[in-house]
Amino acid sequence: MEYLIAFIVGGAICVIGQLLFDVFKLTPAHVMTSFVVIGAVLDGFGLYDRLIDFAGAGATVPITSFGHSLLHGAMAEADKHGFVGLATGIFKLTSAGISSAILFGFLVALFFKPKG
């Protein structure tokens, strides 16, 4: 059941992205940046956590969760250290995503040949 919910919610978020492509003629970069900002704003109102509780990976896998994790790490540190915490905590949770993207992206580019 949780797989089905993840499928439906994740798929629905992708459909919103597809509509932004087709109807509003946005580029993938514009859609991705908008989604990250939307994720951060939704988390600002505490809504994104509820979506994760409901949909699991359906909410953590789309790029919106990147904005949510940025804000979440920042707020967790800010509870301890105030405004300074925003700066020290912002990459705390997204560290896994960014560092692995850099590492794997670099290694793949190093060892694979460009195609097409």
Binding site: E2, Y3, A6, G11, Q18, L20, F21, D22, S69, P114
Partner: protein, 152 residues
């Protein structure tokens, strides 16, 4: 009539009738199926981390994202991800795998310019925008929320 066609202010409206209409429903259906499928795989990986490595539902998102990024980077290197992207549109761009694909493909594209100037400097060519906007938005929202919490 002729005047209206040559009017450059009317260009956008005139050219519209010559552009092919995208098949909205088919594109959305493809995006839904592929995007949903990637999220379902994410749920499998997420459960794996919850049961074997003591993550909770909230924290399992991070290792899951890292694992999906590894798969997406490999698929991009093998040239498979771009084919999925052509079929699925937003279904492959919106999940975090699209983020990994943009990093890897930008680096691969510039490989011929060398390891430092080609691969390393171009890694964030496309993904940089996502990080910049994410951080700026998170800062602003965080500031506002903190101010409210301090005031109330």
């Amino acid at each position: 009539m002729n005047k209206q066609i040559n009017d450059k202010n009317e260009y956008k409206n005139n050219v519209k009738s010559y552009q092919p209409k995208p098949p909205y429903l088919a594109n959305c259906l493809k995006a839904f199926i592929v995007g949903g499928f990637i999220c379902a795989i994410g749920q499998v990986i997420s459960n794996f981390y919850i049961y074997f490595f003591n993550f909770t539902e909230q924290t399992a998102g991070n290792p899951t994202v890292a694992t999906l990024i590894l798969f997406a980077a490999l698929l991009t290197g093998m040239g498979v991800y771009d084919k999925i992207g052509q079929f699925a549109g937003a279904g492959s761009a919106v999940p975090v795998t699209g983020f990994a694909n943009s990093i890897t493909s930008a680096a691969l594209e510039h490989k011929s310019e060398g390891v430092v100037l080609g691969i390393a400097t171009n890694l964030f060519k496309l993904a940089g925008a996502v990080i910049v906007f994410g951080v700026v938005a998170a800062y602003i929202v965080g500031m506002v929320r903190l101010l409210f919490e301090k005031l109330l």
